[in-house]
Amino acid sequence: MSTAYKNRIQEFKLALSEENIKLKTLRELCFNGIPFEGGIRALCWKILLNYLPLDQTLWESFLKKQREVYSQFLKEMIIQPGIAKANMSFSREDVTMEDHPLNPNPDSRWNTYFKDNEILLQIDKDVRRLYPDMAFFQRPTEYPCQLILDPQNDYETLRRRVEQTTLKAQTVNCNRSGVTNVSSPGKALNLYPSNEYEVLPNGSEAHWEVVERILFIYAKLNPGIAYVQGMNEIVGPIYYAFATDPNSQWKEHAEADTFFCFTNLMSENRDNFIKSLDDSQCGITYKMESVYSMLRDKDLVLYLKLEEQNIKPQYFTFRWLTLLLSQEFLLPDVLRIWDTLFSDEDRFHFLVLVCCAMLILIRDKILVGDFTMNMRLLQDYPISDVHTILTKAKELQDSS
């Protein structure tokens, strides 16, 4: 470790040791990248994402409260409905009761239960392919959720729900289709082809299952958005940062802390995920166009080239902006970009600057390329050195 780097870590430690953390100082430090060492990144993100209060004396009671709130969510949204469902399966004669799984009334809680299952299945498919190029998400967590895994609780877990729903869909569909060449009932159905993550034996759970739970709780609490594909790629890096914290007191609570930080980040980003807002001032269309209007100011020639080729910002900035570039770079680089984004007060404006910087840095290629070449470049961005990109973005910010 170089002396400069050691000094840098010292600076962070100093800033974080103040009883009342000076946000401005911390932001300035974080803007140039946050060290992983000592869990500094995870801690800084919790502050920058407005989760931890600046007054450190409040942390202990605050964290205790938040983590209890999260446990309560798990009980209300996963365990209790799961218990009700488990009881239902035992007493089939109960269908004469007021509310039961076949109740066609839209207010029936079973109606909600089955709707939730659809959301859960969608989340499940996506978290089973989260960052496949690294082993982390398939590995067991050191801190499986005791509440969820408690063998005393006889209930339908999310894991069971996914299995049940998939099985049920297969059986019902086979009957209705009248198709004869389906597999015999005795034959084990290959629900998850080998290319997706497997569930671990009872008593342990993989990191992807934790991410699944976070997304499910978020979907339940935010029915207006529920789950949109790609949200998994926003939770992923936050959870990774928290669940690899070298400090076990923090690491143990990665799930609850990630949930709240993700919720806070989404509160600023959520409009991008709402279809009905797409064409409004706060929607994604406006933001995508703002990348081009900024580019027009910063590099007119490049802007005109893209216009001439009819390459619309929608063709590539949708993913860049909604996922905060998490699909464009490798995870360690995403973490580095997010250090800077999170530390900027107006982080979504800075994201637009980063997008502009990315375009300008490949301007020479774009200026000589045709539509196809340029689209491929933008879909599969060629520069992996995020430091260059962030430096350029800062330069653009300073020149405006």
């Binding site: 969608q122 498919k125 996506d126 392919r129 496949p132 869909a169 297969q170 569909n173 086979c174 209705r176 289709s177 198709v179 060449n181 389906v182 597999s183 034959k187 159905l189 290959n190 082809p193 290319n195 997706e196 949109v228 594909q229 790609g230 998994n232 790629e233 995920f273 279809k275 797409d278 064409d279 994604i284 009819n310 929608q314 063709y315 949708f318 993913r319 909604t322 996922l323 699909q327 390329g369 045709d370 539509f371 196809t372 070449m373 689209m375 491929r376 879909q379």
Partner: protein, 213 residues
């Protein structure tokens, strides 16, 4: 100098999420099968040349769309400038087959005043044991809509070339007969009678490497 491609066709690939749209396109354009791929967020773009007759090449530009409902308003904008489409369902997922009608409606209501030549694709045909939609049933549906039906597998590379080439041939025939015409301001079909440089991004496949003279 001979033109590298006669025409450029823009295609769109639609269907429910996780039916395998991106995997099918990647198999076709990159010749490989990704074991796991990210869910498509918004729209992706791919391109490849196909040779439909000796010496007759068509450049395909392919839009890969996100299947989830939330992205409809984003993907809608891509129908109008497409001349052809692959409508995918997963033969092991009956729901995705039942939604074929909705996808066609969605496309038809946003493609005006043009129209799209669709090919119905039953994907993941390597998973025969889990089949939930019979071939006869799918063929019947395709027939009712006046489309062809092809079963494909990106994993085992079954019929992938065939699906794209057949669709391209059908469109080519309609262009030849004048049923589809090149129009100013429409990106669906473009003429390629200009000398072009072959770029690495649109490399021809092995079978296309024969001498053109």
């Amino acid at each position: 100098m001979e033109a590298i491609w006669l025409y450029q066709f823009r295609l769109i690939v639609i269907g429910d999420s996780t039916v395998g749209k991106s995997c099918l396109i990647r198999r076709f354009t990159e010749g490989r099968f990704a074991q796991v791929s990210d869910p498509t967020v918004g729209v992706d773009f791919f391109s490849r040349l196909v040779e439909i007759e000796p010496g007759k090449r068509i450049k395909l530009q392919i839009w890969d769309t996100a299947g989830q409902e939330r992205f409809r308003s984003i993907t809608r904008a891509y129908y109008r400038n497409s001349v052809g489409g692959l409508l995918l369902f997963d033969i092991t997922n009956r729901r995705s087959f039942q939604n074929v009608h909705d996808w066609l409606e969605e496309a038809r209501s946003h493609v005006q005043p043009h129209s799209i030549v669709f090919l119905l694709v039953g994907h993941k045909c390597d998973l025969e044991a889990q089949r939930q939609v019979s071939r006869q049933e799918a063929e019947k549906l395709a027939g009712a809509y006046g489309m062809r039906y092809v079963e494909t597998s990106a994993r085992d590379a079954i019929n992938v070339e065939h699906a794209f080439t057949e669709l391209t041939r059908d469109i080519f025939a309609l262009v030849r007969s004048g049923d589809i015409t090149i129009q100013e301001g429409w990106e669906g079909v473009k003429s390629g009678f200009v000398p072009n440089v072959v770029h690495s991004s649109e490399e021809v496949t092995k079978s296309d490497r024969r001498c053109l003279c």
